[in-house]
């Protein structure tokens, strides 16, 4: 069986769904970062696949941008996470409610 565009898109969708569930269900801040990485990479897979399908490099360049931004986001996020842990001794999301309106 030839692996075509649809297979990649299905994979991307499944990954995205997993990420989305992770974002909604996870209570650990670190694992929440994992979930967002899954989300971003699901999109990257779709970008790369569609780019290859059309023979247009723009999509792959976009994927590189996403990777770069994801990397910096994680760097900043992990920094904040460490500060938060040092201060509160916990990275549980339910304890993180100082913005309650």
């Amino acid at each position: 069986m030839e692996i075509g565009l649809n297979h990649y898109l299905v994979l991307s969708t499944i990954l995205f769904a997993i990420g989305l569930v992770g974002v909604m269900r996870r209570k650990n801040l670190l694992l929440l970062f994992f979930a967002t990485e899954i989300l971003l990479n699901a999109v990257n897979v779709a970008f790369a696949a569609i780019s290859h399908y059309y023979g247009d490099l723009t999509g792959q360049m976009f994927a590189f941008f996403v990777i770069a931004i994801a990397a910096s986001e994680v760097a900043v996020g992990l920094g904040l996470l460490i500060v938060w842990y040092k201060r509160n001794g916990s990275i549980d999301l339910d304890a993180l409610t100082t913005m309650k309106g």
Binding site: L20, V23, M24, R26, K27, L32, L93, D94, L96, T97, T98, M99, K100, G101
Partner: protein, 639 residues
């Protein structure tokens, strides 16, 4: 010459702006001096312009700039100095110079000294615009400007409830009349396509009489408000709450004569509609008598003079209505002089009596206030029309005009009023300056006013004495501009009329002296027979007109407003606005719980939102793609 026109016009504005810089600071003498000097500059420029016009110079007409130009409507800021406006400019600047200098002394101890000069000069500027404008729109700007300044000056002592009330009354009553004036202006523009005097006057000749009548009537309604003619007269007497220099300048000499000026300025209109003119003359005659009768018994010095102003305005309207425009203008000029003199004299008396206004509590002030006494007597003689003082020439000519026009009723009433005028003015003089020194009972120590205040008044004294000799040159000047003509009455008749009038006036003066200048006069306490008579009560209560206005106009209006406030405003307008606000507020209150601050919950909401938006996009996308099928399906259902 244009240079002098601009100086005369803008010096008062500069003065006002300069003084207004110091309104929030304590009294500074130099604001008063500076303001007086600037107004004096304006007087000098006006005099130069008068000399130029007297020598037969062409009227000066300048267009400073365009104010409005849209479509066919073109209104410039244009100014004209002709025989009529130069007379008014002289009156305005002369009286206001005197009043400015006088006020330096009068407002000496007042906290609002600087503010007073700012308002007073602003008034002069507005008045100059009013008389110098070359179109009705400019006149209207000045008209509203003097109304505003009058409001500010009547209510100058705004901490007094009665003063603010009087200021509002004057302002509101003038607004009612101004509506009439505006309608008049709209009619002029509608029918002639211009508001420029020369253009409109030229076009009036082609208009039907009906239209002209309406224009004339509505313009006169405006004049009635400003000049306090019946039934809009009540504000003038109440306006005496303001400082006395204000009464002298605004409510005697200048602003209240603006209505007369309007009629004189529009004489080309009114000479086409003599029936409206006759109405104006009749109303003026009525007001002359009506106001004089109220002045007979009033116990407030300033109000008596205010009623006499009203009465003299009636004379002016009588003259203007009968087509004797130049006589009206001449009487306006003479009246401005002697009436301002009387008011300023009354101001001196008030000052020395510690703001006491009841002449019955004065008496015998002649000994301490010699200068003021002379001024008041001369002013009263001029007002009464005794030969050879100013009022004689102007008032006698009005009588002649009425007589030679065969308006015997008007003539008779005006003649009778002349007697009343003489009586009440000398009643006032006798009560204040002669007889027993009744003020001693009240522990007052009167003193004469500052010497410079008396000097400041002296130009007005000269006008009151000698304005009569100006009659011939004045006539020659305005003859062409106002289509003036002399009134010729057979020599014998004229002599009899002259002697008769003078004797009548003389007798009235003697009677006033006999009745009020003796030692038996006491402060009335409401028990004497006269005070309980019906006529006295009618007159002292001003024919119950203020009472009737209060009872039958103000109170129903207030009740109506109450209903509208409770029913319409609160129940409909407010309720709608409050309802909208309430919905938004409660929505916020309900959805506040979403902001739990828990990141997990918020992310769930975000996902829910994303899913919602995506499904919307999908639905609309599908609907757009299959729109034809959907339409077919719907039409099959019969929609």
């Amino acid at each position: 010459m244009e240079k002098y026109l601009y100086i005369a016009l803008f010096a008062p504005l500069v003065s006002s702006l300069f003084s207004s810089l110091f309104t929030a600071t304590p009294k500074k003498l130099f604001t008063g001096i500076m303001a007086s000097l600037l107004i004096f500059t304006s007087l000098v420029s006006s005099t130069i312009l008068l000399m130029y016009i007297l020598k037969g110079g062409e009227p000066i007409h300048v267009t400073m700039m365009t104010w409005m130009a849209t479509g066919d409507l073109y209104i410039p800021f244009g100014f004209v100095v002709d025989q009529i406006s130069v007379t008014m400019m002289m009156v305005v600047t002369l009286v206001s110079t005197v009043v400015h200098v006088y006020a330096i002394g009068y407002m000496d101890h007042d906290k609002g000294f600087n503010r007073f000069f700012a308002w007073l000069s602003a008034f002069v500027f507005s008045m100059m615009i009013l008389v110098m404008s070359d179109n009705y729109a400019g006149l209207f700007i000045g008209w509203e400007g003097v109304g505003l300044c009058s409001w500010g000056l009547i209510g100058f002592w705004f901490h007094k409830e009665s003063a603010t009330w009087a200021a509002n009354e004057a302002f509101i009553m003038n607004r009612i009349a101004d509506l009439g004036m505006l309608i008049g202006l709209f009619l002029i523009y509608w029918n002639t396509g211009t508001l420029q005097y020369d253009g409109a006057f030229a076009a009036f000749h082609q208009l039907p009489t009906d239209t002209l009548t309406w224009i004339g009537v509505f313009l006169f309604i405006g004049a009635m408000g400003k000049s306090a003619q019946f039934p809009l007269h009540t504000w003038l007497a109440d306006a005496m709450e303001g400082p006395t220099p204000v009464s002298a300048l605004i409510h005697a000499a200048t602003m209240v004569t603006a209505g007369v000026y309007l009629v004189i300025r529009s004489h080309e209109l009114y000479s086409l509609i003599p029936h409206v003119g006759l109405f104006i003359a009749s109303l003026g005659t009525f007001v002359a008598l009506f106001a004089a009768s109220m002045a007979l018994v009033n116990r407030d010095m300033k109000r008596v003079i205010a009623y006499s102003t009203l009465s003299q305005l009636g004379y002016m309207f009588a003259a203007a209505g009968l087509g004797a425009y130049w006589v009206a203008l001449f009487h306006l000029m003479a009246h401005a002089g002697f009436k301002a003199l009387l008011f300023l004299g009354a101001g001196n008396v008030m000052h020395s009596m510690h703001d006491e206004l009841d002449p019955f509590k004065m008496g015998g002030l002649k000994k301490v206030m010699k200068g003021t006494w002379i001024m008041m007597v001369v002013g009263s003689l001029a007002l009464a029309g005794v030969i050879p003082f100013a009022g004689f020439f102007s008032k006698d000519t009005i009588l002649e005009a009425a007589y030679s026009g065969n308006h015997m009723v008007i003539y008779g009433v005006l003649l009778f009023t002349a007697g009343l005028t003489a009586f009440y003015s000398f009643r006032l003089v006798a009560l204040i300056f002669h007889g027993e020194e009744r003020y001693k009972l009240f522990g007052i120590h009167p003193h004469e006013a500052y010497r410079f205040m008396l000097w400041a008044m002296s130009p007005l004294l000269l006008v009151a004495i000698g304005a009569g000799i100006l009659q011939t040159p004045f006539f020659d000047m305005v003859e062409e501009a106002l289509n003036a003509h002399e009134y010729h009455i057979a020599h014998g008749t004229a002599l009899i009329m002259l002697v008769g009038t003078q004797m009548f006036v003389g007798l009235a003066i003697l009677y006033a002296y006999k009745k009020y200048a003796n030692s038996r006069v006491t402060v009335p306490d409401g028990t004497s027979k006269m005070e309980n008579s019906f006529a006295y009560k009618l007159l002292i209560n001003q024919y119950y007109i203020p009472y009737a206005y209060e009872e039958y106009l103000v109170k129903p209006y207030r009740e109506l407003s109450e209903v509208f406030w409770q029913k319409v405003d609160l129940k409909i307008v407010d309720a709608t606005v409050d309802g909208i606000a309430g919905i938004i507020y409660s929505t916020g209150e309900k959805t506040r719980v979403m902001q739990s601050g828990n990141l997990s919950t918020m992310l769930k909401w975000m996902v829910a939102g994303l899913v919602g938006l995506l499904s919307l996009a999908v639905i609309f996308g599908l609907a757009a793609r299959y729109s034809d099928e959907i339409l077919t399906f719907l039409s099959a259902l019969g929609v």
